[in-house]
Amino acid sequence: MTTSDATPRARSRRRRGLGLLTLVCLLVLAVLLSLAVGANPLPPGLVVDTLSGGGTDEARYVLNDLRIPRTIAGVVAGVALGVAGALIQAFTRNPLADPGILGVNAGAAFAVAIGVAVLGLRDVSSFVWLAFLGALVVTVGVYVIGSAGRGVADPIRLTLAGVAVGAVLSGVTTGMTLSNPDAFDAMRSWNAGSLLGRGIDVLLPVLPFVAIGLLVAALVAPGLNAVALGEDVARAQGANIAAIRVGVIVAVTLLAGSATAVAGPISFVGLMVPHVVRWVFGVDQRVILATSVVVAPVIILLSDVLGRVVIAPAEVPVGIVTAVIGAPVLIVLARRRNARGLR
């Protein structure tokens, strides 16, 4: 131990390093669990064998056709939701903000409801595009409303616009599905948020969007630290607020839209992950974003695994498990410290 290790900066760097290492280990563990656990359990040894080309026919079928796609779907949805949540919380400086608040989930659900009720679609892979499109249109719409006439949107107005538009759409969605039993039936399972049967056909279309979303998120991350101090301070520091704003909206739409398209409306991960990360890793937005990329998939995968075992052989959809786990975490955080703002 040198003396420099004793400085606060070095200590916090070491803490971050350890934390990140722990998280990566957790992610690997979560992936393994997600591959091994289920109605047809596979021992971890067999999973590793099968992945490296050996294993049994049955194990190959279970892994390649069922669990690998499902695990990838979980990771993709997790990464997208975690980063979208972190972005929107940092940008609106509102610790309660969540992709769902921007109306993304409601938009996706509305589009899916139209597909189900009007076009008669019944298969998830056929409504992926609709979910994505709905999320996209609504988020852009919310942004336009939130910035009407000035070309800029302030966070509070944006949040209000999101809540309002989301409410209208979920109202109309409820109305549509209630007058159509078939549509209602198809929607009630999608509404729970699930990774079941989300194959490569569902994933491939959204991967490029997730990649672009992550790239944009990485570009705006440094500026978010300035925004956290308030827009005037940010301007004084030379941050380009307008560019950051557009970047955040684009990234959140792409990421949350993709996640919703893949797994249905899972509205708790984006809310919870940034809180957990801030609590462990401090307030540097770059660190929060980077860490959310790892934390969110861990939470989604573990929730999905839990949902497979709780009432086996039946399954609890992952969206329900994340809420059951996430709510207590959020409540504990709210009690632990004065969770005001993003301090």
């Binding site: 009407a148 309002a164 109202g171 209630l178 209602f184 708790f268 959020l330 009690r335």
Partner: protein, 356 residues
């Protein structure tokens, strides 16, 4: 507002756009615009009320409706208006008022325009209670109502306990409320997956909030339970206004801020539970009505009275739309959500236009 003493009552214009109201020995200022807005809202409620009593498959003209209300009219007209439609109309006005008052209380105490009983999970709690009753107990109305009220109260108690730590702070209350609300919403989704399609659809219609099939008994019961709570509010309202000056100022003039907040929230929770028990968790009235009233009156703070009037008017109007304006008859709650949301969007756009 009535006084037990038969004192003088007057409304005297004074400067700064206000009136002085004197009832008995007490007198206070009201803003002139608030009075005008209140009168307009009352007028709107009366017009909409007469409409809602007349509209339907057996249609009556407003004149016929008024004749019945005045004690005349044909036998069949009397039955239709007084027995079939009056409970529903009264329920919309009164329970809409209850919801809006609850919303005003929550928003005043938390100082957050987004803090409303529906946002922080009471409605979801009521829906959970109702679903649990359907799945595990029975589907009869009394059981459902009891389940809903217990669910709402349990959710409120849980939020309260979880949020209190050296007293309940507005912000923490909302965070905890959102957590509990999300948890309950997913539990509800899960429960809906467990029941027959028909049951799930019936439950969802109720879960959106509906005034279908109301009879006089539950409506009367709700009014009788709610009125004493409103009476307590008359005492509380002045103290709530003092809280706007901050806790230190309140303490300085001898108001116990913590206790006032607790009472206000308790009354809010009870009003929401009463309303939910009768018409299900109708969304957005509690959230939007107080804010709409405040904007209409151009007032800096929320008014309980105006909120009540606007809430009653909003729910009545939404119910009219849900029953008569659409090709399919929808649960009233679906309309309140849409109307409230559209209103918010309009306000946001207009405000920005004005500032731009």
């Amino acid at each position: 507002m009535t006084s037990t003493r038969a004192g003088s009552r007057s409304l005297v214009p004074v400067g700064y756009g206000r009136y002085t109201v004197s009832i008995g020995d007490g007198s206070w200022f009201v803003r002139r615009r608030s009075v005008h807005v209140a009168i307009a809202a009352l007028g709107a409620i009366l017009v909409l009320g007469v409409l809602s009593l007349g509209l339907g498959t057996y249609a009556l003209t407003p004149a016929e409706v008024l004749r019945v209300l005045a004690g005349g009219g044909e036998g069949i007209d009397r039955t239709v208006v007084l027995e079939w439609r009056l409970p529903r109309t009264v329920a919309a006005i009164v329970l809409g008022g209850f919801l809006a008052v609850a919303g005003a209380l929550f928003q005043t105490v938390t100082r957050n325009p987004l803090a409303s009983p529906d946002v922080i999970g009471l409605s979801n709690g009521a829906f959970t209670g109702m679903l649990v009753t359907v799945v595990f107990v029975s589907g009869s109305w009394p059981a459902l109502t009891l389940g809903a009220v217990l669910g709402g109260l349990a959710a409120a108690a849980a939020i309260w306990l979880l949020a209190s730590r050296d007293g309940v702070q507005g912000f923490r209350l909302i965070v905890v409320g959102i957590g509990v609300s999300a948890l309950l919403a997913s539990v509800n989704t899960w429960l809906l997956l467990q029941v027959e399609l028909e049951t799930a659809m019936f439950a969802s219609a109720w879960g959106a909030g509906t005034l279908n099939g109301l009879t006089a008994t539950p409506v009367l019961a709700a009014i009788l339970t709610g009125l004493p709570l409103l009476a307590v509010l008359i005492v509380l309202a002045a103290r709530l206004r003092i809280l706007d000056l901050g806790d230190d100022a309140a303490t300085a003039v001898g108001v116990n801020a913590g206790r006032v907040r607790t009472w206000a929230l308790l009354i809010g929770v009870l009003l929401v539970s009463i309303s939910t028990a009768v018409i299900g968790p109708v969304a957005f009235i509690a959230l939007a009505a107080p804010q709409i009233a405040r904007r209409a009156a151009r007032s800096p703070s929320l008014s309980v009275t105006l909120s009540a009037l606007f809430g009653g008017g909003l729910l009545l109007a939404s119910d009219l739309v849900a029953q008569h304006a659409l090709p399919v008859s929808l649960p009233t709650g679906v309309v309140t959500v849409s109307v409230g949301g559209l209103y918010l969007v309009t306000v946001i756009v207009l405000e920005i236009r004005r500032r731009a």
